[in-house]
Every structure is written in C-alpha cells, then in structure tokens.
Amino acid sequence: MPILSVRNLSIEYRTRRGSVQAVRDVTFDLEPGQTLAIIGESGSGKTTLAVGLIRLSSRNARVTKGEIRYDDGKRAFNVLSLDTEMLRRFRWADCAMVFQAALSAFNPVITIWEQFLDTGRAHGMDDKRKVHERSRELLELVHLDPKRVLSAYAHELSGGMRQRILIAMALLLDPRIVILDEPTTALDILTQRAIIDLLRELRGTLGFATIFISHDLSIAAELADRMLTMYAGRIVERATVDDLFYRPRHPYSVGLMRAVPRVSGALGGVVSIPGSPPDLIRLPQGCTYYPRCPFHIEQCLEQDPPLIPVDTPHHEAACIRWEAVAAAVGHDAKAPLAERPA
C-alpha cells in the first residue's frame, strides 16, 4: 500500500502573461521506505511538484486538479483538503522537506538550537526538554557534535554541516516521508559523498520514504529505487533506477543520460540536447518534446502522448516511438548510454 499516491495533479502559476502549466496531470505512487528520484532540467516542474506535495507553493500557484493521498496505515487523508492546522501537522510530522543547504535556509540571527526549538514548536512539540533530547540524538545521528553545533549560528558552519543540520531538523518529528531538493548541489565531492552515505544510513535505520529532486543524475544512481523523468510539467517516464539508466525508453531520458560526463568507465560520446523546453504558457499541439526529439515522426504532433507500458515490467514511457528508442538503445544494455559513441 503506497504511503503517498498522487493522482492527476496539475499546478499552474498565474502570471501577467497568462497561466504557466508547471505541473500537468502527474500521477505516481510512493511506497513506504522507498526512494524515488525525480529528474529533469530546470523548468521541468520538478520543484513545483515537490513543493506542491506539502502545499508550500508560492502564492500565485494554484492546484487546478488532482489528489495527493497520504496513508500511513493509521491515518489516511487527501493532503489537498487539509485545513491550516492539520496541514501544519502534516508538514514535518508526516512529511518533511530538506531544502538546499544555502545560508538562506536558516534564520541568521538565532542559534541552531533555537531553530530546532522553533521547528518543534511550530509543529506541536512543546516540551523543550524533549526537543533538546531529540535534537542531540539526531545531530549525533548525522555525525555532528551537538554541543558545538547547537550554540552556533548558521554562518559559522560549513556547507556540509549546514546540510546535515537541515537533514537532522527534517527528522525532528520522525516523518514517514522526507523530500529533498538538490541535497548535494554546491557541496564539495567528499562532502557530497558523506551526505549520500548518511542518507543511505538514515533511511536504513529510520525507514522513511524519500523523494529526491535533482538535476544531478549521480545522486539518483546512488540512492533511488525508482525514478520519474519530468519534461514540460509532465512525467514522461517512470521506471526502476536500472531501467532508466540502462534501458531508457523516452527520448528525453535518453538525452539526459547522454549529457552526463563520468569519471569511471569509457569516456564515450557526451552530447547535449538541442533546443530548449517549450513555453509552458502556450503549449504546442502534440508531444511537447517533438522539436528536440531525434525520433519524432509526423504522428507525434497529433496528441500529447500518454504514459504507456514498455518492454520491461513496471516501466512506462510517454512516447509512441518507444520501440524505435528501444531498438536504438538496446534491450539488455549493461553499460550506460554515455559510454557508447553518440
């Protein structure tokens, strides 16, 4: 039974030019304990979707359609119909979000301890002693020295430490789902490695489900069970991590995979995706990837293709040409695409 089921979710932003269809008809399930990675370029809608899941979207955003169903076995509800008080409890107690470890994620004039306290209070943890105890435990869990960190201000800490603190803070109320927005972007390699290993370890001990938003495919390769590729606000491919890396069936996923240079393995051909994403205010007729797609045919202009099952189980792509993609990519590829000549 999924802990989170998103059905036909659509979110738009109102702007002076018109409404931006940032998330369109998104459907997916998140199983308890599972790690889901959402990939796509900037403007693909992945952050709007993530933020929308806990209804933290900006003021000009509006959910026009759909349902976000949370069910942890004890309680079940549609997140979109929660009132303000219930929503406050849902955020953090059930579903927490870790933002990029920028300084702006912290209040600069209060200590880390006060931020833990504020976070606890805002979500109904009134017992100061209990917050203190839990903060210390969590900081130890993320391999930080609570004594040193709790009395510090955010600017006194390194980027890696700040990211660990944000993770610890997200876990304060023992959520069942943790959403991470670019958790390793802008961190140094050894720090990235430490954060990735830490997330893997925490997921094992605490058993929460995770949703990652990242334009960095390597973190998805490290941690994800399943992946979603988003393009122009829609999910264009849903697959297990191995299928998406080795047997992608949507031309856009193929493009993303081919655009990543690597340190190990053959260098191969690394190519960028030509063109740019469509205007989300005036969406073109047919498949939105058409102008950038090397596989396109006339028929692709008829309708925006729905997700359909492809040749591997639990794997869907929104492409009527997936068989041509499969023929080009191969059926039992064991090496990533970028290692083969373009």
């Binding site: 140094d188 390699i189 390597s218 973190i219 390769a221 490290e222 993303l256 655009a259 690597r262 340190v263």
Partner: protein, 335 residues
C-alpha cells in the same frame, strides 16, 4: 613556438584577514604550451580560483613570477597590457559578469573599438560573427537584448563572445558551467573546446567537478590542488584511472557516478578525518597528513613534500608515493 606560452613560476598569494595572514596559494608552478587544455580541480578553498586569477593577470602574486612568452608580465607595464589582451578570463557566474544596464551590443562594442579599432557597421558585422561562433542564433536578435532577457546558458555564451572580441590566445574559465543544467553544461563545454581547437587557444578550466574536468581536458592534463598547494599534475586519463596522490585517490573514489552499478560497487578510500584544516592553522609537514591513510609519523607530519616525478612521468607531492615509486591508488588498493 618552443618555450611555454604562459607560465607560473613559484607563485604564492597571501591575504591579511582579521584573524591573521593566510596563504591562499603557495609556491605554484605551472607551464602551458600553445593549444593546451588543462583543468585545475580541488574543493572549495583549495586556491584554484586564486591560481586562475593570477594566471589571467587579474591578481598580482605576492611572490613568484607570471611569464608570458618568457617575459615577466608584472615587471613592465607594456607587457601587462599586451598580456591582458592575450589572456581572457570567463567568469563563474553569468548573472554577475554582464552589466545589466547594457545590451549585448553595448557589451561587445567597447573592446572591439578599443583593441581592434572597429566601429559602426564593421563592428556590428564582427559582433554578428562572434555571436554566431558562440551559437547564439539568429545573432541579430541578440544584439539589442539585455542580460535579463537571456537564460543562464545564453549569458555564458555572451561572456565567451566578449572574451573572443580581442582574439585571445589563452582563455581561463572559472566553473563557467556550474550554474546551469546538465545538457546546457555539455553544450557550453563542447563550445569552449571547439573554439579552443579552431582558434588554437590554450584553455584553463577551473572546476570542482572531476567528471567535467576529465571531459574537458580529455587530451590534456589535470592539476589537483589542496589547501593552496599543487598535490598532483598528470595526464587526464592517468589521473582519473590511477591517481598518484592519496587525496586525488580519495576524491576519485568518492565521486558519485551517474551509473547505478558502478557507483554502488566503487571501492572507497576512508580518510582519517573529514575535517579540512583551516588555512589559518595549517598542519606541519604535508598539509594532508592528518587525513591521509598513507601518512607516516616522523616523515609526513614533519617534512613538507615537494612535487616530484614518478617513473611514468607525472608529478605528485607525496613522500610515500615518491619513495615507493608507485601511485597512491596502487598503494591503497583501489585501482
């Protein structure tokens, strides 16, 4: 051309801070030939940007010399002016490096007028050809645009076009691709590489991303820095497949890879400490010794290592690797 085109000769740069003086870059030497591609890699605070700025003549070294075609650039003013035209720096942040109140034409016109004496229609034709070269098409559409009307990737292309206005022989690019998407990143890297090949330019690319470094400098070299020092300088493929310094070995072992099977089975190097020492209080001996799995008491914590050559020709600043005449990757068993 026989000698190197551009050379850093034991340059250091110190900064005064309220807490004391720090040496951001210490005794770095590097010489680059014509059309060579090199990447400088390292984590934040390793001195790679300071080194790049000194190489581009934007920052005067506290000690040491910057040589261009054998002449000391900071010794005489004429050399510096000539150097400034020959070496162009492309800034990290495309949002900060273009003047927001100037159109693209107004950004490109002054260097064309000053250095090439091009004005009016001739200058305009030159701008159009520059924009075409950096892949901004149709070019005429871009001339009257302001930076805020362009995407991050397009701004970086404008910054590259601006650098090209003076026909440089060397381009120093500082993480010019870190702020944009995967796909745009690659197209910019490819653009820079192709321009370098077409115009025989030497390129220095500064990044913290080893995969990007490998891709960019695939026929060149990689220089690895740690706490202001050069710890390894090697041919690119050699560095990524068989690093010689324990720090480069740890970095390469730690890189998350966009390949589930490789990344989950990669051999790791565990360091003795995750803490990077402060530049204000550097450890004695080898600056990496408190974290180094190969460190030997009485040697590494006492004697500062200098760059030396391994039998296969690459340079590494590690007592143990040099004594054993083997790369650290071998000694740590992660080859």
């Amino acid at each position: 051309m026989t000698g190197p085109l551009i050379e850093l000769d034991r340059v250091s740069r110190t900064y005064g801070t309220p807490a004391g003086a720090i040496t951001a870059v210490s005794e770095v030497s590097l010489s680059l030939g014509e059309s060579e591609a090199i990447c400088i890699v390292g984590e934040s605070g390793c001195g790679k940007t300071t080194t790049g700025r000194m190489l581009a003549g934007l920052l005067r070294p506290s000690s040491g010399r910057l040589l261009f075609e054998g002449a000391d650039v900071w010794e005489n003013k004429g050399d510096l002016a000539r150097f400034r035209r020959a070496v162009q720096f492309v800034h990290q942040d495309p949002y900060a490096s273009l003047n927001p109140t100037r159109t693209i034409a107004q950004t490109l016109a002054p260097p064309l007028a000053k250095h090439k004496n091009l004005h009016g229609q001739v200058a305009r034709a030159e701008m159009i050809s520059l924009l075409e070269r950096v892949g901004l098409t149709p070019p005429a559409d871009f001339l009257l645009k302001y930076p805020h009307e362009l995407s991050g990737g397009q701004r970086q292309r404008v910054a590259i076009a601006r650098a090209l206005t003076v026909d440089p022989r060397v381009i120093v690019a500082d993480e010019a691709v870190s702020m944009v998407d995967v796909s745009i990143r690659i197209s910019l890297l490819n653009l820079l590489r192709n321009l370098a090949i077409e115009f025989h330019m030497t390129t220095v690319f500064i990044t913290h991303d080893l995969a990007v470094a490998r891709y960019f400098a695939r026929n060149g070299r990689i220089l690895v820095m740690y706490l202001g020092r050069v710890i390894e300088l090697a041919d690119t493929e050699q560095l990524v497949s068989d690093p010689a310094h324990p720090y480069s070995t740890a970095l390469i072992a730690a890189v998350p890879e966009a390949d589930p099977k490789i990344t989950r089975t990669k051999k790791r190097v565990s360091l003795k400490s995750a803490e990077v020492p402060s530049l204000l209080n550097l450890p004695p001996g080898c600056v990496f010794h408190p974290r180094c799995p190969l460190s030997e008491p009485g040697l590494c914590d006492v004697v500062v290592p200098t760059l030396g050559d391994l039998p296969d020709g690459r340079s590494v600043a590690c007592h143990v690797a040099l004594r054993e005449r083997q790369p650290a990757a071998e000694l740590l068993g992660v080859r």
